[in-house]
Amino acid sequence: MSDDIILALRKATKLYAGVPAIENVDFELRRGEIHALVGENGAGKSTLTKVMAGVVALTSGKMEVDGVEATPRTPLEARHLGIAMVFQENSLVPTMTVAQNLFLGQEKFYNRLRGIYIAAQQFLQSLNFDVTPTATVGMLGAAKKQMVEIARAVLHEAKVIIFDEPTATLTPEEKKYFFDLVRDLKRRGVSIVFISHALEEALVLADRITVLRDGKHVVTDDAAKFDRARIVQAMVGRDLSNTLYGLRKNSVRPAGARVLTVQNLKMAPMVKNNSLSVFAGQITGVFGLVGAGRTETFKVVAGVLKRDFFHGGEVILHGKPVRYRVPAPAVRAGIAYVTEDRKVEGFFETMSVARNIYLGLLAKLPGGRFFLSSREADQVGKSWVERLKVRATGNDIKVVELSGGNQQKVVIAKSLVQEPDLIIFDEPTRGVDVGAIVEIHELIQRLADEGKAVVMISSYLPEIMALSDRILVSRQGKVVEEFSALDATEEKIMYAAVH
């Protein structure tokens, strides 16, 4: 084995109940390189990295660290080997301070809190992280939490840091900052493995890219030898030239009747005098940086959040002012909100796919049902699983056991079963693999073609540009610009979102 290789997996196989999550995968990580791991949901990326981080053990095959065979059985053992993992759902304790989280597990017999804060401050400054060590983690934004996670990994003197979807919750500015940080870690000699669904990130940041498909290794090559098309081809093993990204629109759907009007909506401090309209038969894309008040505005519309008590503005649905204090009446009025945070708000993860979808239907019924019909639940579930091509081995499979893309389809099915007139998709393809993205995009287009009013909130500009008929740009709590998809450019949209 070459000295250049810090971590390697040989013929790695991991079986879950006899089903291989990864099978005979060979993987090598060079010293001081940034290695991107890409693949569809269910391709085995997470399993592969969890093996490296000691979260799961291999069924067969072996792992080598610095040329020596190693079998970390816990994350702690992996950490002792110099391997740290930054999870997609961060593993920080929200009620503790940043400093306490940094030194968690390294406490001495007698801890002087002030000393911990000073050490944390010095350490964070050395990394050029603008995070206050005394801040409670629960109060931090996604980017800052990410920074704390990274700082903890560096503090543990990790030689290998694994990032699972590190940029999914970051704003464009925060992403740029994160990229600089990763490059800085590389300069310090740290090897980086990162999983990302945003292929452009892999192309920009990585030295080498490994593509996995269906648990098998497909290709590893220098990033310079890849382009988007080659990665996608390797990921899905089929031609996805019908993907919408990058295509310039030459027509948009005409606006139908005005379905929703938001007038001077206020929800301090996120929504400030926001006004907008949504029309039937069109996809209204809403773009903005994190904190622009997009999600909050539409959560008020859907009754998930409440507007300001005094002079909070107006929401007008089909010409009539409405004020929903809870989501149920909004659902009955024909509003469906597909959440951006599916794991927290989207489904009951230990319930079956069919029962989750059936719950969506029950939410539509006034007063609910006294007796629930398992047969009806199965029928409804089966019908929507087929319609949305949810890849599940059965209706009774738990949602938590599905891949991200299929979980998202369940969340969408749960809303569509309500037959809404107005469907609000909040980051519909976040954390979803390329194949499922195409299917979800086709579904969104189909809904608009059927005459539904569709709102799509997204932070991903190519998605906004590819799908929307009209694009609203939100900044500092209100819509500041509107573009037709015909005359919008990424530069114009981003300029409006920032300036």
Partner: protein, 365 residues
């Protein structure tokens, strides 16, 4: 008692009737500068309405009825009172409303005397005319309590006395088709229905032959005015100014409004205007300010110019604007003729022309 409590809580919390909000200009109403950049065909003292028989454009300018010949105008007739509405009839005749109180029908634009005169003591603010089904003429009477020139007084009175009248040319009778409207200001036939714009309710309604009402377009961010048919189907709807939260607020503050009407010169009321920027005494909404000497085009408008293109169902397709920093405000009439849209900007007293091909090209760009 409950109603009184509801009124009180609504006013306290800013809800229900006391919600002080205005819709935004978005979708088909997305602002542009097309109306502001329109060709100026002519400058007039008091232009009010337009009519066309498909070949010739007629202009009501104060007491004069004018005909547009190329870029010049010829006076056809002068009345003793200002013309408040004008329309061409299918048989080649022309109808004019005088001072909002009388409608005269002429066999031709150059006929020496009217063949019919409709006059009724209740007629107060006839502001739009259109040919109706059979031998009828449809008129909108904005208010039965205020004359046409006092339209802003009617708004501040929160007038709801607008009517749609059917003037029967055969029996010479007048029939009220609808009443209680919030300043009816524009009418146009749509199949068997009539589309009527209600300025103070910011909407367009469809009236059936039996007087039944259906809302076609509502929650407009403007005060809609006259309607005219578009050659390719649908309508042109003009709007003489845009709504602001300040005016909406004043309209809910009865005591303040009454005092303002008593003590302040109407020129400086907190009310919509057909033109603005004439005096530093004009009231302004916060943000209606100049930055570095330039009026912000997105500031809350005291006056505004807008023509909306509607399809046959009344759904807006697009609009041409003269924004806050523009001049072509107070658009009260627009008609389509020879592939061009002619509009009257009453604020500056202009007749404007926009080629339809040019509008579509600009909107595409």
């Amino acid at each position: 008692m409950i109603a009184a409590l509801k009124t009180f809580t609504d006013r306290l919390l800013g809800r229900g009737e006391a919600t002080i909000t205005v819709p935004s200009f978005d979708g088909a109403l997305k602002p542009n500068q097309i109306l502001e950049k329109a060709e100026i065909v002519g400058q007039f003292d008091a232009p009010e309405d337009l009519a066309t028989d498909g070949k010739t454009l007629y202009i009501a300018d104060g007491m004069a009825l004018l005909r547009l010949d190329g870029t010049a105008t010829a006076e056809l007739r002068r009345f003793d009172r200002p013309i408040t509405a004008l329309c061409c009839l299918p048989d080649g005749g022309i109808a004019v409303a005088l001072d909002g109180r009388e409608v005269q029908v002429f066999a031709s634009p150059s006929a020496p005397s009217p063949t019919l005169t409709f006059s009724d003591s209740t007629m107060m603010a006839i502001n739009a005319l259109t040919p109706g089904p059979g031998q009828t003429l449809i008129a909108t009477d904005g208010s039965t309590s205020r004359p046409y020139r006092q339209w802003v007084h009617d708004l501040m009175d929160r007038g709801r006395t607008g009517r749609v009248l059917v003037l029967d040319l055969e029996s010479r009778s007048i029939r009220t088709l609808a009443s209680g409207l919030g300043y009816a200001f524009g009418v146009c036939a749509s199949g068997s229905d009539l589309f009527v714009s209600e300025s103070w309710r910011h909407r367009v309604i469809a009236l059936g032959a039996d007087g039944s009402q259906r809302t076609v377009l509502e929650h407009l961010p403007v005060y809609p005015s006259r309607l005219s048919p578009a050659a390719s189907g649908g309508f042109w709807l003009t709007a003489f100014t845009a709504r602001t939260q300040l005016v909406e607020f004043v309209l809910r503050e009865n005591a303040y409004r009454r005092r303002m009407m008593t003590e302040i010169d109407p020129e400086y009321w907190i009310a919509p205007k057909l033109k603005s920027g004439q005096s530093f005494l004009e009231p302004m909404q916060g943000a209606h300010i100049k930055t570095m000497g330039v009026v912000k085009p997105w500031a809350p408008p005291r006056s505004y110019g807008l023509v909306i293109r509607l399809d046959a169902e009344g759904v807006p397709l697009y609009a041409v604007h003269s924004r806050v920093d523009g001049v072509n405000h107070g658009v009260v009439a627009a008609v389509e003729m020879d592939g061009s849209l002619f509009a009257i900007a009453k604020g500056p007293g202009r007749l404007l022309r926009m080629r339809l091909a040019g509008i579509e090209q600009e909107l595409r760009a």
